[in-house]
């Protein structure tokens, strides 16, 4: 469903089937729609069998990194230690607003997914971490958990199986970085949300130092569908020639777009059809100029580059970008790219946890330089400096927030360099001359080329 728009016939609603239907929010309503059959089925299975179904389905993490969910679950062995499941409902990546819809329209679908995963990883306790700003999702999920306890679905004797399943909702307090998995664990432990150095990985020492699995809201919700309808059903959705990306995915679409909202399509859907047919292209007959396809942390594509892309992990990688969280940000021909990229850098500077110098200083300086350029106070050297800072920010820090800032800036500079140069040229009182050197090269480098 293109919530808040009517469903497009080319969508494949699995997770979004009941978006916009308030009756699906209650336990009775959810059960009437086939709810809790997956959990019942899972509880009757050996945890390893549940892991294997999810492994066979090819379901990959929907939080951004795309790690195969079943493989992640199989790291959890019955070792007698307490195990934890964390559900990542921190959803704060600009452009991404799909988990919010899952949680506020189908909270029981999430509870069912969390409980199913808990069984598969030998956990008795699961925490659903939801960002503090999500008042409506918090209310809906809290109510669903309460209903599930009252109905005996959760608790010491979950669904009468003798299995203990406790789920608690934990409210965040405003910090994008708490979406990073180890930062989320620190936050849950009552600490500052600083990411941890890995290893140890969460499956070895995660929440409270115990083996922990962390998954995104969409991943866990999809997992319950996989258990109920089988790996074959899930695998059949996707590009026939790409078995690495299976199933459906929710894409959030925002920015300069005619019909913003969430759309659920099978992975491998043609991006061109998606942007222009489903989402209606740019508003008011304008033209799309650029698209960030996977949440603000991934490389920007020009409109032309979007035309031949398939919307799956491999298709996006082939286009030089990433599927990420599935947050599609559209910029039309009225968008001021330097200004919007500067705003994005400001986001990362604000959200850096400041543990790593490269990130703390890099995000701040990137923002300062970009804003200076936008004020008409920049110089051509600033563009080189920005790319150099970006290099220093990539692959050197505890988590990838630092890289996430550098990525859209570098790709924006490469692909829309003329817009930056126009702002600089204007300040220097010169008529703007389009760059004569190939994009990606600096004026100095172009000058010294043979």
């Amino acid at each position: 469903m293109g919530y808040p728009h009517p469903r497009h016939p080319r969508e494949t609603p699995v997770l979004s089937e009941h978006f916009g239907d308030p009756a699906a929010r209650t336990l009775a309503g959810w059960k009437a729609r086939g709810g809790y059959q997956a959990l019942e089925q899972a509880l009757a299975m050996d945890p390893v069998a549940v892991q294997n179904v999810v492994k066979d389905s090819g379901l990959r993490g929907r939080g951004g990194a795309g790690f195969p969910a079943g493989i992640k679950w199989s790291f959890m062995k019955p070792d007698g230690k307490p195990h934890y499941l964390c559900c990542n409902g921190d959803e704060s990546e600009p452009g991404t607003f799909k988990d919010r819809e899952i949680m506020r329209w189908t909270p029981h679908a999430l509870v069912e997914g969390v409980a199913t995963a808990m069984h598969a990883i030998y956990a008795e306790t699961g925490y659903i971490y939801i960002r503090g700003e999500f008042t409506e999702p918090l209310e809906a999920v809290t109510a669903a958990v309460r209903e599930a306890y009252a109905a005996g679905i959760l608790g010491a004797n979950a669904m009468g199986t003798g299995r203990r399943l406790d789920i608690h909702v934990h409210k965040g307090a405003g910090a994008y970085i708490c979406g990073e998995e180890t930062a989320l664990m620190n936050s849950l432990e009552g600490k500052r949300g600083n990411p941890r150095i890995k290893p140890p990985f969460p499956a070895v020492a995660g929440l409270f130092g115990k083996p922990t699995t962390i998954n995104n809201v969409e991943t866990l919700t999809a997992a319950a569908h996989v258990v109920r309808r089988g790996a074959e059903w899930y695998k059949a959705m996707g590009r026939p020639d790409n078995p690495k990306s299976t199933g459906t995915k929710l894409f959030s679409v925002c920015g300069n777009v005619a019909r913003p909202g969430n759309y659920e399509v099978t992975l491998g859907f043609p991006f061109k059809d998606f942007l222009w047919e489903l989402c209606g292209g740019a508003p008011d007959g304008r033209r799309i100029k650029a698209v960030i396809p996977g949440g603000s942390s991934v490389p920007i594509l020009t409109a032309e580059e979007c035309e031949a892309v398939f919307m799956d992990y491999e298709g996006m990688a082939a286009a030089g970008t990433l599927l990420g969280s599935g947050g599609v940000i559209v910029f039309d021909d009225t968008a001021d790219m330097p200004r919007q990229i500067a705003r994005l850098a400001r986001f990362y500077a604000h959200e850096s946890c400041a543990q790593c110098s490269q990130c703390r200083e890099g995000t701040a300086w990137t923002t300062r330089i970009l804003e200076r350029i936008c004020r008409g106070e920049g110089s051509f050297e600033d563009l080189d400096t920005l790319l150099e800072i970006g290099e220093q920010m990539s692959g050197k820090t505890i988590c990838v927030l630092s890289d996430s800032c550098a990525t859209p800036v570098a790709s924006g500079l490469r692909k829309f360099r003329h817009e930056f140069e126009a702002k600089i040229g204007k300040k220097q009182g010169k008529a703007f001359v389009p760059s004569a050197y190939p994009t990606g090269l600096t004026p100095a480098a172009a000058g010294s080329a043979p």
Partner: protein, 181 residues
């Protein structure tokens, strides 16, 4: 409020606005203390109840004062320095009193593309705040810009205390403020 850790608890409330020189009155007494203990039982450590405890304080008092920091540290058995470190990390906790209606407008790139800055300016004008982060003279309003609220398809989302509004336009701002008592 119907959500969050303090749902259902009867907490003593004092006005949100204005620094108070009166001695600090503890929040975690009676039912609120019982509720905190219930929350603590959800985790293997008392420290893990720190974020929920700070939420309870803020819901009761409107902000988290130095006295509250001491109280939370004492009831959870952690140092006041630790509580302060956590308090200052998270943007949603107020370390100072704020207007009765705390207005947060998202201006991150996706919303910015859709004109979010005009929405901010409309709030600044119609509340009389004039400037970001400044509380209006009557103590009713504070307006701030906030980073992505996770509702980018509903530009521009605005939070007023715990009320989450979608698709707010500059023209709608007077009506939105009309609903604030």
């Amino acid at each position: 409020m119907t959500y969050g850790p303090s749902a259902g608890a009867k907490l003593a409330t004092t006005p949100a606005h204005g620094h108070d020189d009166a001695p600090y009155q503890p929040v975690f007494t009676g039912a609120a203390r019982d509720e905190l203990e219930t929350l603590c039982a959800r985790y293997p450590s008392r420290q893990a109840a720190l974020l929920p405890a700070l939420w309870m304080i803020q819901e009761a008092r409107g902000w988290v004062s130095d006295g509250a920091v001491e109280e939370v540290a004492q009831v959870l058995g952690v140092s006041a320095a630790h509580v302060r470190g956590v308090l200052t990390f998270y943007t949603m906790y107020h370390q100072h009193p704020v207007g009765k209606h705390f207005i947060q407008v998202c201006t991150t790139t996706p919303c910015n593309l859709c004109g979010a800055e005009d929405v901010v300016n409309a709030f600044l004008r119609h509340t009389g705040c004039g400037e970001l982060g400044v509380t209006s003279d009557d103590g009713r309003f504070t307006v701030i810009e906030v980073e992505c609220l996770g509702a980018c398809g509903f530009a521009t989302p605005v939070m007023i205390n715990s009320r989450f509004l979608e698709s707010v336009t500059p023209d709608a701002v007077p009506d939105v403020l009309e609903e604030c008592d």
